[in-house]
Symmetry: D3
Subunit: 242 residues, 6 copies
Amino acid sequence: MRPDGRNPTDLRPIQLDVGYLKRAPGSCLVSFGDTRVLTSVTVEERVPPFRLGRGGWLSAEYGMLPGSTQDRKKRDQGKQDGRAVEIQRLIGRALRAAVRIESLPQLTLWVDCDVIEADGGTRCAAITGAYVSLAVALKRLQKKGTLKDAGAVLATSVSAISIGLVGGYLCVDLDYAEDSTAEADLNVVATGDGRLVEVAGAAEKGSFDRKQLDQMIDAGLAANVKLRALQEGAIRAAVDKL
Amino acid sequence: MRPDGRNPTDLRPIQLDVGYLKRAPGSCLVSFGDTRVLTSVTVEERVPPFRLGRGGWLSAEYGMLPGSTQDRKKRDQGKQDGRAVEIQRLIGRALRAAVRIESLPQLTLWVDCDVIEADGGTRCAAITGAYVSLAVALKRLQKKGTLKDAGAVLATSVSAISIGLVGGYLCVDLDYAEDSTAEADLNVVATGDGRLVEVAGAAEKGSFDRKQLDQMIDAGLAANVKLRALQEGAIRAAVDKL
Amino acid sequence: MRPDGRNPTDLRPIQLDVGYLKRAPGSCLVSFGDTRVLTSVTVEERVPPFRLGRGGWLSAEYGMLPGSTQDRKKRDQGKQDGRAVEIQRLIGRALRAAVRIESLPQLTLWVDCDVIEADGGTRCAAITGAYVSLAVALKRLQKKGTLKDAGAVLATSVSAISIGLVGGYLCVDLDYAEDSTAEADLNVVATGDGRLVEVAGAAEKGSFDRKQLDQMIDAGLAANVKLRALQEGAIRAAVDKL
Amino acid sequence: MRPDGRNPTDLRPIQLDVGYLKRAPGSCLVSFGDTRVLTSVTVEERVPPFRLGRGGWLSAEYGMLPGSTQDRKKRDQGKQDGRAVEIQRLIGRALRAAVRIESLPQLTLWVDCDVIEADGGTRCAAITGAYVSLAVALKRLQKKGTLKDAGAVLATSVSAISIGLVGGYLCVDLDYAEDSTAEADLNVVATGDGRLVEVAGAAEKGSFDRKQLDQMIDAGLAANVKLRALQEGAIRAAVDKL
Amino acid sequence: MRPDGRNPTDLRPIQLDVGYLKRAPGSCLVSFGDTRVLTSVTVEERVPPFRLGRGGWLSAEYGMLPGSTQDRKKRDQGKQDGRAVEIQRLIGRALRAAVRIESLPQLTLWVDCDVIEADGGTRCAAITGAYVSLAVALKRLQKKGTLKDAGAVLATSVSAISIGLVGGYLCVDLDYAEDSTAEADLNVVATGDGRLVEVAGAAEKGSFDRKQLDQMIDAGLAANVKLRALQEGAIRAAVDKL
Amino acid sequence: MRPDGRNPTDLRPIQLDVGYLKRAPGSCLVSFGDTRVLTSVTVEERVPPFRLGRGGWLSAEYGMLPGSTQDRKKRDQGKQDGRAVEIQRLIGRALRAAVRIESLPQLTLWVDCDVIEADGGTRCAAITGAYVSLAVALKRLQKKGTLKDAGAVLATSVSAISIGLVGGYLCVDLDYAEDSTAEADLNVVATGDGRLVEVAGAAEKGSFDRKQLDQMIDAGLAANVKLRALQEGAIRAAVDKL
C-alpha cells in the first residue's frame, strides 16, 4: 500500500469543477488529489498563417502560478521555461487528436492550463480537464450558432495519466513525493475507446526493461477508462445546464 | 440605484477564502463580486542587494490568467504589460506600508496576486486579499520560529477600494461595466485606523473638481472601514486554526 | 525656510526652452531647478489598431539618460524599468486629458520625455514641458494644413507639480534631497482652469491623514496656476515665430 | 519496399565522423542518410547552482542552421523555438542516463547538437552522435588527468532511432518525406544492452493501438543494437589515436 | 618566417567546398587554414518593407557554433552579441556591393555564415565563401527561370582578407594566435578587378602610422587577387555541374 | 562649393560645451553643425570579470533620442539596433586607444554618447566630444584622489571625422544630405600627433579605388589636427575651473 493508503492502481480523488469561470466558453478546475489545474477554452476569431483557408486551429499554453509549488516558482520574464514548453506542446497535440480541426470554421481554440497547486501529475490533470473544457466550449459554440455540429468536430475523447516505478513497484497517478523518487515514469494519453494518442516514458535513473514498459502501458490504459467515465459525467451535467 | 441593485456606497459581496493553497505560508482567494484574485505570500531566504544587512523586503507581482478577461489575455512573452507593472508597484507600496521591513530578518516576502476572473477593481481586491495572506503568513512564521513577534512586524492593516463618478454620480466598488463608463475613478488605499496610504485618481474624460475629489475620498475611507472588519474576521478564524 | 532658501510654496526657477530641436514639430527643454527634461512631439501617420477609424491617438514615452542620475542609470535592455513604465503611463493620460483625440485625423502624436539631468520632480517637469511641445506642434500642424484648427483639438492646458511632507512641513516642488526624505509625496496634475486631471499621492513612511492630503492638494492647485502662466508665455512667443 | 529502396527495418547509411572539430574534447559529425548533425562535447569548469558540491552535470543544446531546412530556418531571436526546447531536453535526459554524474568532478559537460542538413530523424542522429562525442571526450579528460577513470563515469551506451507507421506499414529510420506522411511516430532511446531509456510516441492523425506500439518498440530495440555496433567501432578507432 | 612556416604575404591553405548542402540554392564550406565557415544562400519570396516595389534585397547573418571556439561560445539568448552584429553588417554590405539589387525580382537573398571552427579571419573567410555561394545560387535561379540573366545581377566579384602588424612585421591572413598579439589589424574587402569595397583597420595597442596603413592595404589588394582566382575556379566547376 | 557654402575640406562649426551636466565627472555637449551629441563619462567602482585584478576598463554606449531624427527613432525594446551596436563598439575602441587602462585602478569608465539631434557624422562627433569628457573626468578623479596622475593614464588624445566622395568630389565632415548621396564614406579616427587609431571606409555604391582612399585619408588626418586644437582649448578652460 502507498503512503496515502492507495493501492498501486488507484487514482487519487478526481474532481472536475466545470464552469469555474463565468465568461469563458469552457472551463474546468480539475483536481487529481492536491494537484489543481484551472483549464479554460476561449475562442479567437482568426487562425495562424499556416491554417489560412484550411479550417481552424487549437493551441495550448501551460503555466504555473508562483504560489503553486513548494518553493515559489518565478514568473517567466522573457525566456519561457523549457519544461513548460515541453508540456504545452504535449497538451496541444493531445487535444488536437480529439478534434477534427479541418471541420472547424476559421477560428483558434485557445486551451489554457494554469496550475493552481502542484502535487505531481499536472500535465495529465491538465489534459483531462482541458478535454472537458473543450467539449463544453464546442457545445456552447453550437448553441451560439458558430458551429453547426459540435459532435462532428469532436472526433474522440482524450485523457491522460502518469504511471511510475517506485521502489520497484508500479504505481498509478503519482503524487509529487512518489514522482520525485520514481525510477521511471510514463505518461499515457489515450482516447475514450482505448487507443493511444501519446506515450512518453523516461527512466529517471538508468533504464527500464521492455516488460516493465508493457505493465505501465496496461495500467495507463486501464486508468484512462476510469477518467473517461468521470469526464462523461461532468460534461453531461454541464451541457444540460447550457 | 445601480444596475445590480446596489446603493451608491454599497460594496459588492466580499469573500475572503483564507488558506486556499495548502502549502503557501499565507494565501487568500478574494472575491469582490465576480472579480476573483488569488493572493499568496511566500518566503525567500534572501533579500535583494539593496537590503543586504538592513532587515527584510517585500516584493509584489500581479498577473492575469489568460481566461480571466472577456477577450483572452495573452501571456506576457518577454515584455511585461505596462498596466500590470503599474499595478504591482502599487500593491508593493501598499503592503510595505503595513510592514516594518526593518524588523524582518533577512528574507523576502513575495506577494503574488493573480487574477482568476476580472470584473473591475482587481487591484483593490488584490491589496485587500494580499493583506490577509500577509497577516496569516507572518503568524505562521512566528509559529515556526522564523519571527519572534509577528505583531511587531505588522505596523497596521491595509485595504483598498475604488470609487468612481459614473454619469455624474459617485459609486463605490465599480464593476467592469461601471468602470468602463466612469468619468473619473479613484483608488483609496487606507490603513485600519483611517489614515491614507495612497490615493490615485484620474479623470477618464477631461477633468474633475476639488469637491468631487473630496467626496470620493470620504466614500473611500468609509468603505475601507468595512473591508477592515471583514479582513479581521477572516484572519482571526485562520490564525485560530494554525 | 528650505536649504536652498525657498519658502514652502515656492517653485524652483522654471525655464521652458521651446524649439530646442530644429526638426521636431514641437520640442521644449524644460528645467525645474537642476532637473532638465527634453520633451518632444513628433507625428506618425498612422494609429494603433484600437483607434482605426476613430480619430487619432497620443502616446508618451519616458526615459532617463545614463548620465542623468548621481549613480549612472543603466540603459534598458530587453526589460523596461517599472518606474519608467509607471511614469510614461501617467504622462500619456495627462496629455490625453488636454487633447480631443477624436478631433485629430488618423495620426499618432508621440510625446517623448527624456531626462537630461535628474534632481527630483522629473515626471512633473515632463508633463509641464510636454504640454508646451504639444501646443506648438499642433499649431505647426495647423500651419502645414494637417489640422484645420489646433484650438479645436486642444481641450485645455495641463501641468503638474509635486508636493511633499518633509519633516512634518509641506513643501512644493521637491528637489531630490527633499524627495528622498519626505514622509509623503503627491503629484497634482491640473488643467489651466483649476480642475484636476490626476492626483497620485503615497506615504513613503507609514501613512498620512486626510487634513494633510487637503493641504497638499491646495498647494498643488496653486502651483499649477503659476506654471500655467509660464506655459502660456512660452507658447505664445514660440507660435509668433512659426 | 520504400521509395529509396530500403526494406522496412533498414537503417539509412550511417556515418560517424569522429574528431570533426580539432579543438573540442569530443566531436562527431553524424549522418543518417542526408541528415547531418554536428555534435560536440566541451567542458566548463563549474556546475549549475543545484549541483554545487554534488558531482558534475551534463547539459544539452540543440539548434538548426538556417540553411539546414527546405525553407530557411530563421535564427532564434529572443524566443527559443518550442520544438528545439523539447528536443534538447530529450537529448539531455538521454545522455545523462549514460553517465554517472555523481562520479564526475565539479564540471559541466556541454553537449551541442547543431543540424547541418535536415532530412528527418535529427533528434535520433543527435543522440547517437553525441554519445560518441561524449565517450571520446571522457577518454580525453582521463588522459589529461581531469578524470581518474572514464569507464567509471560512463554507465552505459545510448543511441536512438525513429520508427513510424506510414500508409499502415511500419518503417524504421524515417526520412523527411516519410515522417511528414506518417500516421504515428515513435522515438526509441535505448542502451547498448537493450534496455529502454526513453520512448516517446505520438499519433499524428488520430491514434494508434497497443499492438502497433509493441511492433514499433520491437523494431526500435533491434535498430539500436545495430547503432550500438557502429558507435563502438567509431569510438575505438578514435580512442586509439588519442 | 611565421610559426607555421608561412612567409609574410602567404595565405593559409584555402578550400572552397561548393555545394556542401544538398538543398540550398548556393552553399560553400570555406576553409582558411583551420578556420571553417559554412556559407549558404537561400531565397525568400518577399522583400523587407523598404524595398517594396524596388527590386530585391540581400541580407546577411553571421553566427558561431558553440563548439567553434577554444572556450565554448554560449548561444545567443535574447540579446545578440555585439561582435556578431558588427560582422554580419560588414558581410551584408560587402555582398550587396557585388550585386545589382535593383535588377533582382522582388525576393530576398539570405546569406548565412556559420562558423564551424574558428582560428582567426572568420569574417574574411565568410565573405570569400559567401560570394561563391551567391554566384552559384544566382546561376541556379537563372536555370530555374527565376532570373533572366545571373550575369546582369552580379556586378563584380568580392573577397576579403585580414592583414596585421605582428611584432612590427606585416602578416597576411592572420591565424588566431597572430591575431591576438597583433598591434594593428586591417580587413580589406575588394572586388575582382582590384577596387576597394571596404577597409576597416584598427590599432589594438595605441595607433599606427600612415605608411604602415599603406603597406597593409597593398598587401590586402594583392591577396584578394589570389582569392579571386580560387573563387573563379570553384564557381566554374560547380556551375558546370548544375 | 557645397550647398552650405563650405569648401571641400571645411569642417562645420564645432562647439564643445564642457560640463553640460552638473554631476557627471566629465560631460560635453558637442556640436558638428546641427549634429548634437551629449557625451558623458561616469565611474563605476568595479570592473567586468575579464579585468579583475588587471587595472581598469572603459566601456562605451551610443543611443539616439527618439526626437533626434527626421522620422522618429523608436526606442530599443529588447533588441538593440545593429547600427548602434557597431557605433558603440567603434567609440569604445577609439577611447581605449587614448587610455592606458592598465594604469587605472579597478574601476570602469562609462562613456555614454546620446544623440540629441542628428545631421550626419554622429559617431565622429561622439568620439571627439567623449574624449573631452574623458580628459576632464580623469582630471577630476585626480583631484578627488582616486587617480594619482591623470596624465599617466591618458596616453594620447583622440578625435574623428568623416570624409566622403559626393558626386565625385571629396568632402570633409558630411552632413546628412551629403552623407545620403555619397558614393563612398570613410571615418578616420586619429590621435593628436597624427597617428591612426581606426579607419573604416565603405563604398555605398559599388567600389572606390586606391587613390581615392589615399586622398580621403589625407583629408581626414588634416581635419583631425583642427579638431585636436579645439579639444585642447576646451579641456584647458574646463580644467582651470575644477
